[in-house]
Symmetry: C2
Subunit: 227 residues, 2 copies
DNA sequence: CGTTAGGTTGACGACGATCAATGACGGTGG
DNA sequence: CCACCGTCATTGATCGTCGTCAACCTAACG
């Protein structure tokens, strides 16, 4: 699933807080996030902000941003992207059928996340949302083999990011995290998360029937895009 | 953008309330909704339900439902689907590059809707959500040339569908609709919606900077899949 | 007619937003 | 070294939107 042509692809770097593109921008390129964390967000006219998704290494962005991007993309940490013209990207896919499959799988995962996100915002309580988001991030990082040790990891997020992702106020997120800490589920301090009881976290998240998060994820055989 | 092969494709019908597939099902086919309304939904373990998206004629479903479907699909009205094996579908796409483009466009639109949906649930008030959903449906139907006259249309939705789509209680939806009617924005009775003031409805929806819904949609040159 | 499903309206309570004060850091300049 | 910020986290007090519970209405149907 590696892209041999990838070496030829343009690179693009981003510092924390910088944007790859803004909401409403015309986006002609397709990007693959090689390293770092970023997020996609949408702004309302009155200033309220909604974070739509977090992008992690291997994720593809820009594919759906055809004419005018429905949302902007901003870096959380220093990021580096491989960047293809839309045309070149599709040619690449066309030449490597296996890559097409991987792409479809990734888009499927992204949509599954979007669906879970909608369900969270629509039907879960504040505490459930917080637990669900943390569980999702832990699961994704595990699949990417990107967790420092098994239990703890760095989250380059401020309260306001979590709040904007979950449709909550900062203070509410803070209270939920305090609660989860008091109850011995996790510790989150100084941007570092330690999950003390994964099963318990999953219970708190009030999962849908579908998503079986934790169960010994079998190391994800299919590789992500990488370059 | 028509599919000549489509005549050969299997058909599948559905009566209101029936499901094409359930959450967690393995879905091997890709379906194109030829006629009717349906919705995709996700259930939580405690019974709460979230409607994720509404499917209208021309929409593709099943693409992202690779291993275990993240959500079920249920018919609102009598529906008919063209149904392809995943393999046949991709062959079809492979043979007709233009179709691939159309597909990408449709997936982009679907994702844009998902993003707007997330924003609605996360950051919009009850009244804004209701207005936004109605505006979205009106816009989609216009593009499909599926509106009876310019101003009014049939919505095969119960209060509970709107409520489950917007993360609200039936009573809240009812109150919002009463309010919008009182204020002369629209009339919704007996499953029939009449928009009295489209611009006003757009204001009520508190649109994101991005989505310019109403502005004289130029009849959507690109055709949807059809068979 | 009686029954049932769905819509409508009111009363009340709860969850989470808002406002405000305080604390913990890290950076900057005197 | 330490006063002075600015940013972000934390906690408490109060308020408002929306969920819940309940009663009633209407239309469809046997």
């Amino acid at each position: 699933m590696r892209l041999p042509e990838a070496r030829a692809a343009q690179r693009r770097g981003l510092k924390p807080g910088e944007s790859l593109f803004l909401q409403d921008d015309r986006v002609d390129n397709v990007y693959i996030l090689l390293d770092g964390w970023a997020f996609r967000y949408q702004d309302l006219k009155d200033g309220r902000r909604q974070i739509v998704d977090f992008a992690l290494p291997g994720d593809v962005v820009g594919l759906s941003e055809t004419a005018a991007a429905p949302c902007g993309l901003e870096a959380l940490t220093p990021c580096s992207f491989a960047c293809y013209s839309r045309k070149a990207f599709f040619e690449l896919i066309g030449r490597q059928p296996a890559m097409g499959l991987t792409l479809v799988q990734m888009l499927s995962h992204a949509e599954a996340r979007a669906i879970e996100h909608v369900t969270s915002l629509g039907r879960r309580t504040a505490r459930e949302r917080v637990a669900h988001l943390l569980l999702e991030l832990v699961t994704r990082l595990k699949r990417l083999n990107l967790m420092a040790d098994t239990k703890s990891l760095d989250l380059p997020l401020m309260l306001s990011h979590v709040a904007d992702a979950l449709g909550l106020a900062n203070e509410t997120v803070c209270r939920c995290l305090s609660g989860l800490r008091r109850d011995g589920v996790l510790v989150l301090r100084e941007r570092r998360l330690k999950v003390l009881d994964l099963r318990r976290l999953a219970d708190e998240a009030n999962l849908s029937e579908t998503d079986a998060f934790e169960p010994a994820v079998p190391a994800m055989p299919a590789r992500r895009f990488a370059a």
